[in-house]
Symmetry: C2
Subunit: 368 residues, 2 copies
Amino acid sequence: MADAYAGRRERLREHCGASGADAALITRAANVRYLTGCPPCGATLLLTRDRAVLALPDDLPPDDTGEHLIAPDVTRLPVPAGTDTALAAASAVARLGVAGLAVEEHDLTVTRHRAVAGLAERVRLADVGQAVERLRVVKDEHEIADLRIAAEIADQALGELLESILVGRTERHLAMELERRMIDHGADRAAFPVSVGTGSHSGQQAHQPTDRRVEEGDFLTVVLGARYRGYGVSTARTFVIGAAPAPWQVELHRLVFRAQRAAREALGPGVEQCVPDQSAREILRAAGHTEGSPHPIGHGIGLEIREAPRLGPTDMGKLDSRVPVTVGPGVHLPGRGGVRIEDTLVVRPLDEGGPELLTITTKELLAL
Amino acid sequence: MADAYAGRRERLREHCGASGADAALITRAANVRYLTGCPPCGATLLLTRDRAVLALPDDLPPDDTGEHLIAPDVTRLPVPAGTDTALAAASAVARLGVAGLAVEEHDLTVTRHRAVAGLAERVRLADVGQAVERLRVVKDEHEIADLRIAAEIADQALGELLESILVGRTERHLAMELERRMIDHGADRAAFPVSVGTGSHSGQQAHQPTDRRVEEGDFLTVVLGARYRGYGVSTARTFVIGAAPAPWQVELHRLVFRAQRAAREALGPGVEQCVPDQSAREILRAAGHTEGSPHPIGHGIGLEIREAPRLGPTDMGKLDSRVPVTVGPGVHLPGRGGVRIEDTLVVRPLDEGGPELLTITTKELLAL
């Protein structure tokens, strides 16, 4: 892995060099991790032409959180706990002979930026923009392997839940149980708070679990994802509680299933980002379902749960191979509930078998 | 409560007026909540001389997360999901005849600040600084009532855990069980990830729970807090597993207990912020325990888990009445473990009975 981190840093150096900066100050946690392996802890990476200096709090618990994950060719600069690591790194800039420093203006607050500028005297500040985020879009096979494990963990937790008795349990309890099961199966933690919505709460995008109890005849929507070695996935399924789903439930589930399949099948290298969303939306619209302000059907996923590329109805740009994305349309009928079905997939060319489905729990309308 | 929010906004208006701005753009989630009641959702408050406009995402789940918590005299400006609410609010600025706009430069990134400036044409931008954070330091009795309930919830969860069998269970499981119990008892959620450290992990500040199992003879340190209506507390206790603590355990626990008591007793209106820390540190130092880079012994607590004032060894300024703070010294002996004892208390004058202890679980060295 040390080689992978070094290669990523080299690509960032090339980017900075091309824009006239001879160093970069990376503060965004996911970007620091991508370039050094360091888990989120408030660390800052100062990358010069020949050095990688990681300013990190000196009170990291040594034995259990990640000191050993940091690439060995990165120089540690321990910073007293409570001190801003970006400022500690900026103080080292002049000493290292830096002339132009590219910073992450989308991450630094105005106040921190001003403090960095004050410390990095006689150094020209520039904006590195989303350069690291762009490097992160296409994943290597190590990253995809971690995503596969994260997906397996989510699938296992969900599978176990489906075998248990659900009627009478609250959304909150089911959500907590899923989080516990994912940790039991080896997740770092849940990639985001698990959402469980039942009855009129089902089918929503980010329903916050309540004390509502699962009842016979309910739709039950579960949105979950595990994080493994920093990499997260997201998946959603909708089931029905009881023996016989109502006709409207069967119909709505079939519709969302078809829309989600169309979007999945539209994924491929060279495909425009808006196409999967349009494919699904067309099917939902033909059945009379339209949203006020349309949510994108999906987005890139990796070290952050929502990262580039965005798969919205008006997003430009083409998909690449080895880009993991979510695909998750849904329909929510106010007062009645709804259906949401989401997968995490990796974009692959047809000669590699087409899109690789990571979250493999069945999308059938199970009656539980 | 609507009156309380209006009163807080009026004080912020006075602050802005004094510094020559006729409007403020508040983006920091805890500050938005303090001024409007709106739970964290990416909302932005635009406060002009005569209006309070809250730009908030239009996809907030209506029935379960907080729309009803927003003060009724605040005007809603729904913003399409995925759009930056600060930019939506900034677009309204010119229309509302604002000449000078104070923004939170410690919250806005350079990129967002630039975008706000671009949208708020012909409006002079200024920095409102930590004005709202300063308003938040002294709590009103409604806020303290919520903190009391948050503390009760944490105490209940901890009390129940102490009655269960602990040997053989992992730190992760115990931490998850505490989070579940707090939610069962009515918490919004855990105020921060519960920390459970056993054996050599005990006594640490922010130990991330591992799969290590509780063993006979271990120290067990639990750091937890509930959040109730947005207000969080923090408490830590250290126990010993098994019938008879070892002499070094008894001695270390007694030492940290004494240090923590000294810091608690030092709290009072008019007391310098550094005094509680110094009181505790003196006792620890006399016993030969010193830290490399000293953590502050505590800090303010409320809508954020760590807010002003900081109670570090060199912090200037005086404590006020009705300021809730944490007081939590600890000693960790690498390889052996340690003791941490933390409470949340409200600073009160002697004629109101002195510091009000919110987290009342016993601090005795229980053998479990």
